[in-house]
Structure formats: C-alpha cells, structure tokens
C-alpha cells in the first residue's frame, strides 16, 4: 500500500475520533440554557408522583431546558436543602413553608399542585362518625405529632370547636390501616387518595371525613428559594411551565400516566396491585384539578396560618405575600 491512502485513512480515523469526542448539544444547550438538577419529592417513588414521571417521559422538562433527576427525602430535609441552595426545587406541603419561614428558612411556594388538602379521617363504620363533632370522645390515631396529617386533624377538630383534649389521641406511626383494622383505635388520620383504597380492598366498613370539606388548607406544591428567584427567575418560570404541562397531561391521560409511572415505581406493573393503584392515581388527580393549574388561594394560606397560630406552632402571623407567589405560573 502506498503512503497516501494510509495517510488519508489515518486522517479520516482521527476526524471520526474527534467527532465522537465532540459533545452533541441540543439547541437549548447550545444557547447555554440547560439546567441539570435534582428534583426532591417526599418519602418514596409512588404513583401519586405521576406528573414527574410523565414530564420526564413526554419531554416536558426537556422542552424547557430542564434535565432533572428524581430523589426522595423527608419534608424537613427537603426544605433545608432548598433553603440552603443545595437544591433548587422540592415538593412539600404548605404548612412546611410557614413553619420554616418562621425559623428563617428563605423558601417560597411557587406552584400549588394539590388544589384540595388530601388529609382525611377514616372511622369505623359502626360508630356513625360523619362530622368532625362526632369525633369527640373517640380514639383517633395520627401517624405523628407534626406534618400535614396532624395539622389537618387539628384543623378538622378546630372546625367543630374541639381540641386534642376532646379525643383520645394516639400516635400510630404510618400504620393507620392496620391500627384501624385491628381495632386499636376507632378512627385514623389518612391520605384521602391512598388509605381508603386499601380499606376498600380489605372490605373494611368505614366512614370518611375530608379535611378539605371543613377547612381550605394549602397542600403539596413546589417550593424554591428566595435566592433562586432573585438570581434565576427564568429557571423558576420554566420549572412551573414544565410541571403545569405534566400535570395537565396526567389529568387528561390517566391510563397512559399510569403506564409511564410503572417504569419509575417498582411493582405498579403487578396485576395484583394495578386496580388499587389506578384508583389511587384517579383520586389523586381529583385533588389536582383547577381552572388555572398551580394557582394558590390566599384563603388557603390564611386558614393554614390561623391553624398554626392556634396550635402554637407559629408565634406571630407571617407575611403571606412573601411565602407564596403565582408570578411564575404559565
């Protein structure tokens, strides 16, 4: 072989190698707009986080130049991560915003995902407990003495002029269904989209009191930090836009959303759980519906603050206008 073809081959190989090393950029990356970050959500992967899975699979986040990795942590940890700038966004319940801001954590609620407070009280069917006032004198189990469940219970009791002293309050941990079924307590605080499905599956006779029917409280939504809003408001806007598309698509296409979620949540493709988990998703969707997705209502924040002040968890009223904003909604 002569030297010239060899040189051409070498040059071609070098060009191919260089081409392989050269990164491929999307248009957003070429403009330097792609943001990669970890999106924090509570507890563990669950069908109730379907919009995030949908957003990833349908490319809603990518369209807005967002490359997100999903992670799970406790609410208090997530608030601290966002407050210190370690994470740009997280999903937490509304009371976490007021409680943490009272301790100087600079977070802001920018997208109200759940439009109805999801906490409810399920009671043994034979007791005839259908209103908050009926809870007086009965044993009520709550998972813990903090968080949305306990605050929801206090709001429910407060709507009937009751306090903890009027019931036999028990702390059950996250074993509400088992505790109710085994008769250790007469009523339990639950998530309206979740535990009732388990109770129905076990054929348990129960009555349900939804906190949202008696108190308009702010529930789960996306938070960010004051620092991010000041330094990169466009990122906040893009996150809100992407998530709004994801929530809307999930609401309109629940079956597809379930199939997508099965890729992210172990066990959802098990025929034994599909019926129940699809019901959980359907009931969750009912809590998300709104004329304008993501919009907060001042009434919800005011009621939440009132409950926290009554419980003694807040010493003084907060500046609610600084705690949340709809300015970044599409």
């Amino acid at each position: 072989m002569t030297r010239t073809p060899t040189l051409i081959l070498v040059a071609l190989a070098a060009a191919l190698l260089l081409g392989a090393c050269e990164p491929t950029y999307t248009p957003e990356q070429q403009l330097g707009q792609v943001e990669s970050f970890t999106m924090y959500m509570g507890f563990r992967p669950d069908v109730q986080f379907a919009p995030f899975y949908v957003g990833l699979e349908k490319g809603f986040f990518r369209e807005e130049g967002l490359e997100i990795t999903l992670e799970h942590a406790s609410e208090s940890d997530m608030v601290r991560l966002v407050g210190t700038g370690e994470a740009p966004f997280a999903v937490v319940s509304g009371e976490q915003v007021l409680l943490s801001r009272a301790q100087g954590v600079p977070i802001v609620y920018v997208f109200q995902w759940y439009q109805r407070f999801p906490v409810a009280v399920a009671a043994r069917g034979d007791l005839g407990i259908t209103t908050p006032a009926d809870l007086a004198g009965h044993s009520v189990g709550t998972p813990m003495l903090e968080g949305a469940s306990y605050i929801g219970l206090e709001a429910l009791l407060g709507s009937a002029g009751l306090t903890d002293a009027d019931i036999d309050l028990q702390v059950t941990g996250f074993t509400q269904v088992e505790t109710l079924v085994t008769g250790r307590v007469e009523a339990v605080v639950i998530y309206a989209s979740n535990e009732p499905v388990q109770l129905d599956a076990q054929g348990v006779d129960y009555t349900l009191i939804n906190v949202a029917d008696y108190a308009n409280l702010v529930s789960n939504g996306i938070i960010t930090s004051e620092k991010l809003i000041a330094e990169n408001p466009d990122l906040v806007r893009r996150m809100a836009a992407a998530f709004a598309k994801a929530v809307a698509y999930t609401i309109e296409n629940p079956d597809e959303a379930y199939s997508i979620s099965a890729k992210y949540v172990e066990g959802l493709d098990d025929p034994g759980v599909q019926a129940a988990q699809k019901t959980v998703l359907a009931r969750s969707i009912d809590l998300w519906r709104a004329e304008r997705l993501g919009a907060s209502q001042l009434e919800g924040w005011e009621t939440m603050q009132e409950v926290l002040l009554t419980m003694g968890l807040l010493d003084v009223p907060q500046d609610l206008s600084a705690a949340y904003t709809d300015a970044f909604l599409p």
Partner: protein, 271 residues
C-alpha cells in the same frame, strides 16, 4: 512480709483528671461557636451553642424536657431490665447446655440480622402505640450483646474450679452462686455497659415508629418545626442519659468487683 497497698492518686492528679475533660468540652464549644459565626451558618442548619443553651433553659423551665425525658427513661430502664433478664437467663442456659445451644443459637444469630428499625412499626401494630412496644424494642436491641457476654462469662469459668466445687460436694445452687456468678460478673458487666447505651437507642427507635411523648418525639416534632436548637437539646438529653446509665453500671462494677482488687493486693502481699 511486704504489703503493697494500691497507690493513691494525688489531689493534683485527681483534679487534672477532671479538668482535662472539662477543658476539652470548653474547646469543643468554642470551636462550635467559631464555626457557626465564621461560616455564617443559618440557625436552621446548625444553631450556635448559645442558642441551644437558651432553648435548653426554655424547655426545662416549661416542663417539656422533663416530660419527654421521663417517658424515655421509663422505656430505657424497662427495656434494659427486660432485655438483661431474658438475655442472662437464656445465655446461662446456652452456656451450660450444648443441646440448647444447638437448638437456639441459629435463630438468635439470624434474628440479629433483622434491623430493629425495620420491624419497629410492626411491633407498634402488634403491641400498640403505648409504652410496652418501646420497652420491647429497647429490650430487643439490648438482648444480643448481653446474651453473648453472659455465654462468654459463664464459659470462662475454668473447669478445674468446677472440679473443686464438686470435690467439696457443693450443690448446683452453691456452684452457681459462689463460683459461676462471681467468675462471670466482669464479662457480664462489660456487656451491661454496652447494653445500657444501646437501650437508649432502642427507646428512640421505638418512639420514632409511633409515640406521643419521649425524647425521640421531641426531636421529631422539633425537626418538623425547623427548631434545630430544640433538636440539639433532645439529642444532648439522650447523650446525658446514656452517659449516666454507663456511669451507673461502671459504679456498680467497681462496687461488685471490689473483691478482685482486694484479692490482688492480698496475693501480692504474700511475696
């Protein structure tokens, strides 16, 4: 005949023994304060020592700290007692019977592979959210180290001493009381020291699975309210509790095993 009495520490040496730990503590607190100030740490991440001290005073004066500490202490002492008695009884049986050892050991060892934090919610379901489930969880954590030390202690008794007791026509009870118990005590008490600190962990694990009161609840509720200073107070209270229990077992050990030091002195005096 020489009599070598144990050496007495001078007053200066004893004072130095107390001052050094206090000085270390002071240096630690100063370093903590400096870290918070120089690092501009927000209070919800790392409160300054002064903030923790003020919170400690507040929760002490309003009764919150005593209420939670008392509950945890009951759970700890109950768990320590239940775990210790069960472990010692089973440990003695295993140490003295090959058949019992072969029957039970595999299950006991396997049970230790189960993380207590994973089964704590189940125990709350089975035994209710009251004190007993926390006592049980504490006892489960304490059980294994005391069991192992009981077995080791009983088996450490030299066989020739058993022969001596048999040659003196000692009854089973006399052998147990006058030989096995004194001989096993040093190892047993070492296990009890470990168990004493572990019992505090067990009580808190139980409280985090479901409880209305206790230092674990106090810490959890403070976490939910982003009151990190109060969390620190709860943690420090647990540390003090564990150290106090350890110290109590240490004192018990020194008292119960006095005869060892006296025996060593008499032995030395023979030469």
């Amino acid at each position: 005949m020489l009599h070598l009495a144990p050496p007495h520490r001078s007053l200066a040496a004893r004072l130095t023994g107390y001052l050094i730990p206090l000085a270390s503590l002071a240096i630690f607190v100063l370093a903590w304060e400096a870290f918070v100030r120089l690092g501009e740490m927000p209070a919800f991440i790392l409160p300054a020592p002064g903030a923790v001290a003020r919170k400690a005073i507040t929760v002490t004066l309003n009764g919150t700290l005593w209420r939670h500490t008392w509950i945890t202490l009951i759970e700890v002492l109950g768990g320590l007692a239940l775990g210790t008695i069960t472990a010692m009884a089973l440990g003695y049986s295993i140490a003295r019977s090959v058949a019992i050892e072969r029957a039970l050991s595999p299950y006991i060892v396997a049970s230790q592979a189960i993380p207590v934090i994973a089964i704590a919610p189940l125990l709350v379901i089975w035994f209710g959210p009251g004190l007993f489930s926390k006592v049980l969880i504490s006892a489960l954590i304490v059980f294994f180290p005391i069991l192992v030390n009981t077995i080791a202690g009983v088996r450490s008794v030299p066989e020739d001493l058993h022969d001596l007791m048999r040659s003196l026509n000692a009854t089973r009870w006399q052998t147990f009381r006058k030989l096995e118990v004194p001989a096993a005590l040093p190892v047993l008490l070492a296990g009890l020291k470990v168990g004493a600190t572990l019992s505090v962990i067990g009580a808190v694990v139980g409280e985090l699975a479901g409880a209305r009161a206790g230092l674990g609840v106090m810490i959890s509720v403070a976490d939910g309210q982003y009151d990190t200073a109060r969390m620190f107070v709860g943690v420090l209270a647990l540390v003090v509790m564990a150290l106090t229990l350890y110290g109590a077992v240490d004192l018990l050990e020194k008292r119960v095993l006095r005869w060892r030091a006296a025996g060593a002195g008499r032995h030395t005096a023979l030469y």
